[in-house]
């Protein structure tokens, strides 16, 4: 009997979805708009993440070694830096590489190149380019380097300069901006999720309200609560599924249109490319959100009419 009932509930849910034309259209319209807004927030979040990621990747700190710093001491420092949990990457640039890089950078400035040639020895020391996982972690890396330098062989430090201390204000500010934008986008996402839940719940409540007479008749002919509730839950899930489909289709022209703007605004990330690359993931998120919201809203909305 369980399977027969399940089959009947699913069939009735589908048939009602189709036959309740106007109510279905209204519910699907509202849910499509809601899921579209939710999806847009996911896009916006991804765009912001990528833009912030790009900014973050441009931030690093450089440790300049003294010209006579021994290579094994520099490599030992590189190894100990790599062992830090805050470190994302450490690149070692040797003295020769440093001068080659300097020459390349100033290829158009003959005066500087001449001055460099005048010198007998390479004036540039080797250096390390360090990237932290989070911008807020640069300070602790810098502190580690400071202490490492103080402890280095024979009291004479091998570190000439750490540019973190020059850039500290800028890095701190950027770190604060990134943390605030992250927190703000998360708060906006949560607020919109709550608003979406309320809108969907009320839409489905109205849809079920139109059936309250039917629900009372079903109870009076002796149908069990689960047998009455089942088709409404299926219908709610169908609203969510169809709305997710519509929202995904709607994103196609919208992201094509917005693609060039987002590329300029977010520093190279095209929202249409993101839509295409993450299509299945987005689709899954919207369908899950729609179906789960639809089912839960229907379950809660019908509860108040199942009192007989």
């Amino acid at each position: 009997m369980f399977w027969t009932d399940t089959k009947r509930i699913i069939k009735t849910g589908f048939v009602s979805f189709w036959r309740n034309g106007v109510v279905t259209a209204a519910a699907v319209l509202v849910m499509t708009v809601t899921l579209f807004v939710l999806g847009s927030l996911v896009f916006l979040d991804a765009m912001l993440d990528s833009a912030l990621g790009q900014i973050q990747s441009k931030v690093d700190i450089n440790v300049y070694f003294t010209v006579d710093a021994p290579e094994d001491a520099m490599m030992a420092m590189k190894d100990s830096l790599e062992a830090l949990p805050e470190t994302a990457s450490v690149d070692f640039v040797s003295r020769d590489e440093a001068v080659a890089e300097f020459t390349r950078k100033h290829a158009d400035d003959q005066l500087i190149l001449q001055a460099l040639n005048e010198l007998d020895d390479n004036p540039l020391g080797a250096h390390l380019n360090i990237r932290a996982k989070e911008t807020s972690q640069y300070e602790s890396i810098a502190r580690f380097l400071d202490s490492e330098n103080a402890l280095s062989s024979e009291g004479a430090g091998i570190i000439d300069k750490i540019n973190y201390f020059q850039n500290k204000t800028a890095i701190d500010k950027l770190s604060k901006i990134i943390t605030s934008v992250d927190a703000l986008s998360f708060a906006i996402l949560i607020i919109f999720i709550i608003i979406s839940i309320m809108i969907v719940f009320n839409t489905i409540r109205l849809a079920i309200y139109t059936s309250k007479e039917e629900i009372s008749v079903m109870q009076l002919v002796g149908a069990s609560h689960s047998y009455i509730r089942g088709p409404f839950i299926i219908e709610g899930m169908m609203y969510g599924f169809t709305s997710a489909l519509f929202a995904m289709v709607l994103f196609y022209p919208v992201t094509i249109w917005l693609g060039p703007f987002t590329e300029d605004f977010f520093g190279g990330t095209n929202v249409f490319d993101y839509y295409v690359d993450n299509f299945s993931q987005m689709f899954l998120i919207l369908i899950l959100a729609g179906v789960v919201l639809g089912a839960i809203s229907s379950f809660l909305a019908i509860k108040r009419y199942l009192k007989l």
């Binding site: 048939v15 009076l220 002919v221 002796g222 149908a223 069990s224 609560h225």
Partner: protein, 237 residues
């Protein structure tokens, strides 16, 4: 004597001193007591607001009384658990003045729903629904939706739904209230036939002609009380 025969000696419905007060208003039912035997046909008459519909709602456990109890086959219906309540309601066929059909279901599906609720198989539904629709002369409207039926046809469909599970009791709450004299006559004839086949029928009505043509027991209500109970009564208000 079998259990069924023994239980049929007892009334199918016994209403014991039922009182119903909504908020602080006058009582809608004021100490109503009555009993209805198996296979009996009882008409309940009275002005609007006399308490007829409230009494039927109490019998269906659609509402609960402020005082008193109602026994169905010697069981207090207000002590039934949810599952038992569903089973109890399947033993009653209900017909309303406003039909209360499921608007998005066809005639077939309206009746099938009541059978599905009672746990009947697909095969039983396939065979019984056309049969019961033929009984109320709606065999050719099987795939019509309620809005495509006339008032009389809707009420016949509601009766078909009420009897398809072969209930012990059919309750008809002013079933002819929205119908013309021809359809009223048809509906009364169907209810009589149902009763002749052994089902208890409780009918509330305003229609003098209906009551007098039936020549069965008539209970008269006024201001929430039973004021007359005649075994072969007439419409006296």
């Amino acid at each position: 004597m079998s259990d069924t025969e023994k239980s049929h000696k007892d009334p199918i419905i016994r209403v014991n001193n039922v009182r119903k007060i909504y908020m602080d208003s006058l009582p809608a039912l004021d100490g109503v007591s009555l009993s209805v035997d198996h296979k009996e046909f009882v008409s309940i008459v009275g002005h609007s607001g006399a308490g007829k519909t409230t009494l039927l709602k109490m019998i269906l456990a659609e509402e609960f009384p402020s005082e008193g109890e109602i026994l169905f086959d010697n069981t207090n219906i207000y002590e039934l658990k949810k599952k038992e309540m569903n089973k109890y309601r399947r033993r009653i066929g209900m017909v309303f003045q406003d039909f209360r059909l499921l608007p998005h279901k066809t005639a077939f599906e309206n009746i099938a729903f009541a059978m599905e609720a009672a746990g009947r198989t697909d095969e039983e539904i396939e065979s019984d629904v056309p049969h019961v629709l033929d009984l109320v002369d709606l065999g050719d409207k099987i795939w019509n939706f309620p809005q495509e039926l006339s008032g009389g046809e809707k009420q016949r469909l509601a009766i078909a739904r009420a009897i398809v599970n072969q209930p012990d009791l059919v309750i008809a709450d002013e079933p002819t209230g929205n119908l013309d004299p021809v359809n009223t006559h048809d509906i009364v004839q169907i209810l009589k036939k149902i009763n002749d086949l052994g089902t208890t029928v409780i009918l509330t009505t305003h229609n003098r002609g209906v009551v007098e043509s039936l020549n069965h027991r008539v209970i008269t209500m006024e201001n929430g009380k039973i004021v007359r109970d005649d075994s072969h009564g007439r419409y006296v208000i």
